[in-house]
Amino acid sequence: MDVIIESLPQYWDGFLRTLFLAVVSGIIALVVGTLLAAARVSPVTALRGFSMAYVEVVRNTPLTIAFFFAAVVLPRLGVTFQQFEIAAIIALSAYTSAFIAEAVRSGVNSVPVGQAEAARSIGMKFSQVLSLIILPQALRTVIPPMINILIALVKNSSVAGAFYVLELFGYGKQLANEHGDAVMWVLVGVAFFYLLITVPLGYVAHQVERKVAIAR
């Protein structure tokens, strides 16, 4: 157990980097995913097609492919990064947004069609119907699946450790090498710090869900 106490500075540094990756990628994924879902229900055929193709491809391929793409393929196409963290954020948000898009779309489908008809009948444009009436109701109903996706994102960020980003898992690898006799405790420490993010996330989600629930 001493190894955890001794290595607290590394753990803390890794924890903050994991948190940073998850928060930034999470915010980008929420925005992009919601836009993808909006495109999926839009009257413009090209937007619907693009959204569907994106979600199908990204959702059905492994996260590591997204990482290799961001870290290896993008630089060859001329997109270079000073830090691997940027590549990690691109990969994580691109991957997660596909799942967010599907969750939001299921929420949109759960809003009764009469809500959109009423909004259109008072003269709202498609963008207003979506942003003022449909999405606010849809997002509230998809908080539980959305939180699952965000929890998965926190854990998925560990793949960045394999791409030279010193987040929790990256430090975990390093510490395990240095303390070959205490690998178990090193991993317990890593797990603890992941739980420090994911458990409160679940709790906050529960509170938010109760607060914004809409009665019909």
């Binding site: 009257p43 009423a118 909004a119 009948s121 008072i122 003269g123 444009k125 009665a215 019909r216």
Partner: protein, 251 residues
Amino acid sequence: MTTQVPGNALVSLNAVNKHYGQLHVLKDINLHVRKGEVVVVIGPSGSGKSTLCRAINRLETIDDGDISIDGKMLPEEGKELASLRADVGMVFQSFNLFAHKTILENVTLGPIKVKGVAKAEADKEAMALLERVGVGHQAPKLPAQLSGGQQQRVAIARALAMKPKVMLFDEPTSALDPEMINEVLDVMIQLAKEGMTMIVVTHEMGFARKAADRVVFMADGQIVEDATPEEFFNNPKSSRAKDFLSKLLTH
């Protein structure tokens, strides 16, 4: 096809046809509603009267024919259609109040977001409308906290807030408990007296007798009779209408 097109028709439907697959739901519909006129559309279920009502603000598309409102042809989609819809109030069978907005917000949302009215002014006008339909004290509540009759009166206020040229009612009392029907009909009768142009799809024959200038009877997607309420109820011409009325009156 002979169509008498009154120059002052506010709502005009000319030779309108619509199919749902094989089913011909609207057959060559011609209907002209003058400003200030109250037209009640009745008929057996499946006769196409709701489809007719929803076609007027293009919630249902039509296959051919044309529909114009205040001389303007109904646009296809997009901005122009949205601005035309702002002039046509619609009240639905299932109320369709915005579930995540308060009663007051339900009424002010259209004026603020569509017409660009300042919030303070929109609030003031909305409160006056809510008072007028008798639910002023419910303003801060959410729709689910109100009874069906109250919700439907809010829905009428929401439509009126846009200062529409014409109001469409699609079976406004069909989803209500019997004791709540009158509170909604009273608001509608008041509206009719104030000179609002109204097209009302309903099964409430009492309302048709009391408030209608014209009764349009539909069956199998066609307008079978178009007459004053006295004429229609006392002396229906078609056998289809006679049959329909006899079924109503036997109970």
